[in-house]
Structure formats: structure tokens, C-alpha cells
């Protein structure tokens, strides 16, 4: 394995993905450095969610390789063949990859505290008191120290999303994948979630964020990856994407989302 792969936080090396005969990701190559905040933009159906879900092997890929901190994800390479890993090995890899979903996906039968503790307790086998201390600390970090004993159904969308972020952080991931973290929220609630994400960015978390929220891309992302129909059309510093989009599709996209 060459050094760039080892040094990068996330590497997608010629990744393709098909559902049946439809190609959803077409030969995607991307590299993200540790501490970098990258937004993934593109029209609906471009394959942003699919790309994120491939990185933690929630979806299988049809060709190519994905590395997170130098580790080949989901497969073991033997000779010239990739063998899919066992359930146990894949779940072990996922521990270091945090994921936040558009629809929050909190565990509805658990309190907020139990949601955040679930990873440390069941996956990391941390002791309950230790996990609880960690969970309370993270809930304070996302601004919800007083909601520990509530159930998800008793929280607003913005609060649920911040709990979901705390739940992901509880495993001390080295990379965070966020799939439209604010799309299900109205502007006011979006704001509190964006603030939380911004804090993470400032603390140096490596993040890949699929979003339709231009504020994230403009205000604190280092880089923009613009996708259309499963292909990476542009992969540039965030500033230059908005000031000087190179391709026709990106120009249209920037024009539509200007303001």
C-alpha cells in the first residue's frame, strides 16, 4: 500500500457501485486528509448518500477500493481478489467511522442517555458507569445536558439530530460521515445543528458532509466535491467552488443556490 493511502483519512480509489444494471457511482476517486472538512454537493440522485454508505460498508461496492486511515474497508485482499469480510470484522471497522443520518435514526425505545451509551456499552464493552459519564459529557457538548432521560419522541428534530451526533461521537470515531444532517429540519433548528457541526470542525474532526445547506459548504468546509449522476464533476477548495465554478453543471448549481 502506498504512502498517500496511509496518510489520508479516507481514500476512495476508482469506486464503482451498481444496483442491477444501473451504475450509481462511476469510477469515483477521492482523498480526504485528516482534519479536513469536505462537503459533498450535487443534485438529488447524484449518489451522495450511496457514496457515504459505501465508506462504512452499509452498501457493498462493485469495483475499486475504499480505505479509512489506511485500512481497506469491507474486504480482504488476497492475491488479485477481494474477499468480503465477516460481519464481526466489518462491524469492528465501523467503530472508527461515525455516521449521522438525515432522519436521525435514534433508537426509539431507549432514552437519550441509553442511545448515546449504546455504542460504548454494547460495542466497546465499556463499563456502564464509565459509559454514562462519557455520554453525559457528550450530551453537554452538543448542548443537551438536561435531556438525558427523555425519549427521542419527546425531542425536537434539531435536538434529536444533536443526540445522534453525540451517539456517533461516543465511539471516538476518526472520521465522521454526515448525510444531509439538516435536511429534515426547518431553518431555525438547522442552525443549532450547523453550530454543533461547526464545533466539531473546529476541534479537528475529519468530516465528509453530504448537504443541500450552503452555509456549511461556504462557512467552514475546506473543500467541495460536486457530484452529478454518480460522477465527481468537481473537487476543489470551497472558496473557488463558489467564486469560480469550472463546469457548466456546477455553475448552474451555484447560481441556483446563490444568496
Amino acid at each position: 500500500m502506498d504512502t498517500p493511502v496511509k496518510a489520508a483519512a479516507v481514500v476512495l480509489d476508482s469506486v464503482s457501485k451498481s444496483y442491477g444494471s444501473v451504475e450509481i457511482l462511476k469510477n469515483v476517486s477521492v482523498s480526504i486528509a485528516p482534519g479536513e472538512v469536505v462537503t459533498l454537493l450535487g443534485p438529488s440522485g447524484a449518489g451522495k448518500s450511496t457514496l457515504l454508505r459505501c465508506i462504512n460498508h452499509l452498501e457493498t461496492i462493485s469495483a475499486g477500493r475504499i480505505y479509512v486511515h489506511g485500512q481497506l474497508i469491507g474486504y480482504r485482499e488476497v492475491g488479485d481478489t477481494l474477499h468480503e469480510m465477516s460481519d464481526k470484522e466489518i462491524s469492528a471497522q465501523r467503530r472508527s467511522i461515525g455516521m449521522v443520518f438525515q432522519s436521525f435514526n435514534l433508537f426509539r425505545h431507549m432514552t437519550v442517555l441509553d442511545n448515546v451509551m449504546s455504542g460504548p456499552v454494547h460495542v466497546l464493552r465499556m463499563s456502564k458507569p464509565q459509559a454514562e459519564a462519557l455520554a453525559r459529557e457528550l450530551l453537554a457538548k452538543v448542548g443537551l445536558p438536561d435531556k438525558a432521560n427523555r425519549y427521542p419522541s419527546e425531542l425536537s428534530g434539531g435536538q434529536q439530530q444533536r443526540v445522534a451526533i453525540a451517539r456517533a461521537l461516543a465511539l471516538s470515531p476518526s472520521v465522521m460521515l454526515l448525510d444531509e444532517p439538516t435536511s429534515a429540519l426547518d431553518p431555525e433548528l438547522s442552525q443549532e445543528v450547523i453550530l454543533t457541526i461547526r464545533n466539531l470542525a473546529e476541534q479537528g474532526y475529519t468530516m465528509l458532509i453530504a448537504t443541500h445547506e450552503m452555509a456549511i459548504a461556504k462557512e467552514f468546509a475546506d473543500r467541495v466535491i460536486f457530484m452529478v449522476q454518480g460522477e465527481v464533476v468537481e473537487d476543489v477548495p470551497a472558496r473557488s467552488f463558489f467564486s469560480a465554478p469550472r463546469h457548466e453543471r456546477s455553475r448552474q448549481f451555484v447560481a441556483r443556490h446563490a444568496g
Binding site: L58, D87, S91, R95, M99, F104, L106, G119, P152, A170
Partner: protein, 277 residues
Amino acid sequence: MAEPRSVRVKHRWRWGAWLLSAIVLLAVFMLISAGVRAKIMNVEVFLSYLTSEQVLIGARNALILGTLALVVASVIGLVVALMRVSGNPILAALSATYVYFFRGTPMLIQLLFWFNALPTMFQRVYLAVPFTDVVVVDAPTTAVVTPFVAALAGLALAEGAYMAEIIRAGILAVDKGQRAAARAIGMTEYQVLRHIVIPQAGRIIIPAGGNQYIMLLKSTSLASAIGFLELLRITTDIYSSNFMVVELLAVAAFWYLVMTAFATAVQTALEKTFPQR
């Protein structure tokens, strides 16, 4: 703006519903008084059999059979439901076939099959641990398949098909998003099932399961056909010798109602313990 006045609220009087209630109550009263006048039932005989030892044994046997059958059926149902949603086409087909077969034939036929047909097909039951000398069972089939064993097997296997469908519906009701989130924090497939899917599916399954428990308690009466001494068998045996048909059927009905009340209480308690979120 005008000074606020206190007003009285007078709701409409629902005449129709009250009229219907009165008519139904009157009809019930007339029916009961007609029954009393005609002396359709000897209340003393009813009361004396109600708590007789034989009847209590029958009620206990029915409760044990029904409850055990539900427990075994739930385990079968869970396995069959998991096979169905496993994504493996052969397991799914086997599961669907099981459900079709055991839900599609009358329970009574299944009980008669296990008790009467099985021993004519296989004279001996022989079960040993492979590659060792350990013999678990080696006996004539008729000695192994007692009325209780046949009834339990029949009820549990038939009920397992219903429970499989109920559990499958419960599993499918837990949204994919939560399962993806559980995987994303590093849970194995087993942990996702154990910590996320089953607790939530369980809550959805409880009301339907309570219903099945009641059905099953009453279905234990089918075991009377293969000579298992449950409630119906015992009461019919008694009235075939003393001809107190009404009294003894009423005794049986009474205890089935008690069992149903018990099952309902269990269901309510479970629903309170695991509230829907």
C-alpha cells in the same frame, strides 16, 4: 370589547344510543327471567362442580397446555420469522412453506395426526447422539407421544405459523434507518437484532400475541379429541354419566372465561412494562 359572560355548556343528548341501551337491557332481563322460570339450570349443581377437584385439574391442564404451547410457538415463530427475513431464498421459501402448511390445515387434523397417524407410520422413536453410543430415546412411539405430547406438538406447531407472521410484521415495523444506525456504530447483525429490533418488535407483537394466547387457551379444548384430560374432556365425561349438560358446559365456559381474563391481564401488564415510544 364586551364584558366576558359566564356561559353554561349544554351538550346534545344522544337519544338513539340511550334508547338502544334500554331495549337491549330489557331483552337481556327478559331472557334471564325466562331462563329462571323454565329452570334451565340447576345452580347448586353448577356451583358444586365449579370447584370440584376434577374440574380444577382440567382447568389447570388447559392452562398449562395453552401456556406451554404459546411459549414453544413463540420460539418457533421467531426462528421462522427470522428465516423469512434473512434474505436467503431457500430459508425464506422453507419458512413460507411452513406457514402455509401449518396455518392452512385445521388444528384438529394436526392433533389427530400427531396422536393417531404418527405411531402407525413410525413404530419406534430412536434418537441417539451421532458417532457416540449415547441413546437419548429408544421407545415405542405410543409411549413417547402421549396425549399431552401430541397436543403440545400440534398446538405449538400450528400456532408457530401464526406467531411467525405476527413476529415478522413486528420485525418489519422497525424502520431500516435504526438498523443502519445500529450497524454504523459497530453493532454486529446479532446485536442489532438483540438490542434494537427485538425490543421494539416485541412491543408491537404483544397485543397480537395476547390475542393468540386467548385463542390458544380455548383451542386446548381440541385436545379432548385425543383423550387429553383438559377442561372440556373432563366436563363432557361427567355430563355423559349424569346428564347435567347445561351445568357442566357452563362450568367449562366459566373457567375458559377466567383463563381469558388471566391472559388479558398478562397482556395489559406487559404493555405497561414495555410502553410504546
